[in-house]
C-alpha cells in the first residue's frame, strides 16, 4: 500500500535552501543563518532527511587552521527530486518522487 509522506513547512524551507545550489555541500550553521531556523529544529530535520536517503553527508576538513572538521550536507538524487516537486507543487504528499528514487 502506498504510504503517505507528510512534509512540514520547515522541511520545505530547508529543501528550498538546498536547491539554490543542489550539488554544493552545505554546513549546519550556514543553513541556520540562511533559513532562520533554530538549531533545535534544523538538526532533527536534517537527521530525518538523512535517515530517509534524501540527504548525503560527509566530513570536510576546515579550511581554517585549528578548527575541527565540519559535517557537510547536500541533497541526494531522491532529495533533489523531492525538493523540486515540493517547490513546484508545495502539495504533500510527495509520494511518487520518494518511491521513484528510494
Amino acid at each position: 500500500m502506498a504510504r503517505r509522506i507528510n512534509i512540514s513547512r520547515q522541511t520545505l524551507t530547508v529543501l528550498s535552501a538546498f536547491l539554490e545550489t543542489p550539488q554544493g555541500w552545505r554546513y549546519g550553521y550556514d543553513l541556520i543563518k540562511e533559513t532562520g531556523l533554530k538549531s533545535g529544529t534544523l538538526y532533527p530535520l536534517l537527521m530525518r532527511l538523512h535517515d530517509q536517503g534524501l540527504l548525503d553527508s560527509e566530513w570536510h576538513p576546515s579550511p581554517q587552521q585549528g578548527r575541527p572538521a565540519r559535517h557537510a550536507y547536500r541533497l541526494s538524487h531522491a532529495g533533489i527530486a523531492l525538493a523540486k516537486q515540493a517547490r513546484s507543487s508545495e502539495t504533500p504528499p510527495l509520494q511518487s518522487a520518494v518511491e521513484a528514487f528510494a
Binding site: 503517505r4 550553521y29 538549531s39 533545535g40 530525518r48 532527511l49 576546515s62 565540519r70
Partner: protein, 189 residues
C-alpha cells in the same frame, strides 16, 4: 562575559554529545564542531538548540518509547494486582470464600504477568494476555450455562468483561506503540 557564555555553550554541547543515542553520535559531534563557527552571542542559543534536539532524539528513539510503554504496562499491572488483593480481602470479610480465592489467584497471575513483562518485554505481555482474553471472553459469554443462577454469576461476568477490556487495551499498547513509532519515522520528513 562572552567567554563565559561560550563556556556554557560548550558545556551544553558536551551534555548533548553525552545524551545522544548511539545512532546519533555522529550528529552530535557535527553540532559540536559547528559550534566553532557560531559567532559571539549566537553560540549559546545554537548550543541550547542542539541540546534540545539531542534530548528529544534520546527520548523519542524507538527503544525509549517501547521501554516507556513496557514500564507503563508493568506499573498498571502492579496497581491492578493490588486492587485485586484489596477486593479479595473485602470479599473474604463478607464470607464470599470462592470469589475471594479467585481474586487472590488473579492478583498473583497479574503480578506474574507484570514480572514477565518487566523482564521479557512487550512480547511477553501480548503472549500472556491472549489466552486470558480468550478465556475471559468465553466466561463472559457462557457464564449462564456454566453456573447455576446465582448472585455471583453477574459478578463473574462483570469481572470477565473487565479483563477483556483491560487486557485488550494493554495489547493495543504493546503492539500499537512500537508499530506507530516505526510508521511515524518512515512517513514524516
Amino acid at each position: 562575559m562572552t567567554s563565559g557564555l561560550t563556556r556554557i555553550a560548550r558545556a551544553a554541547l558536551r551534555v548533548a554529545v553525552a545524551l545522544s543515542p548511539p545512532e546519533r553520535l555522529e550528529w552530535s559531534k557535527a553540532m559540536q564542531s559547528e559550534m566553532h563557527h557560531a559567532s559571539g552571542g549566537n553560540a549559546l542559543p545554537f548550543a541550547l538548540g542542539c541540546l534540545w534536539a539531542m534530548a528529544k532524539a534520546r527520548a523519542t528513539t524507538q527503544t525509549a518509547i517501547v521501554n516507556a510503554s513496557r514500564w507503563t504496562l508493568v506499573l498498571c499491572a502492579v496497581a491492578w494486582s493490588v486492587l485485586h488483593i484489596r477486593l479479595a480481602g473485602r470479599l473474604s470479610t463478607v464470607g464470599a470464600t470462592a470469589p475471594s480465592m479467585l481474586a487472590y489467584f488473579a492478583a498473583a497471575a497479574i503480578a506474574v504477568g507484570a514480572f514477565f513483562t518487566a523482564v521479557r518485554g512487550l512480547r511477553a505481555a501480548v503472549l500472556l494476555a491472549i489466552p486470558v482474553i480468550i478465556l475471559s471472553s468465553f466466561v463472559a459469554i457462557g457464564i449462564d450455562q456454566m453456573l447455576p443462577p446465582q448472585a455471583f454469576a453477574r459478578f463473574y461476568r462483570a469481572i470477565a468483561i473487565e479483563y477483556v477490556v483491560i487486557l485488550s487495551t494493554a495489547m493495543l499498547i504493546a503492539i500499537g506503540v512500537p508499530a506507530w513509532v516505526k510508521q511515524q519515522k518512515r512517513s514524516t520528513i
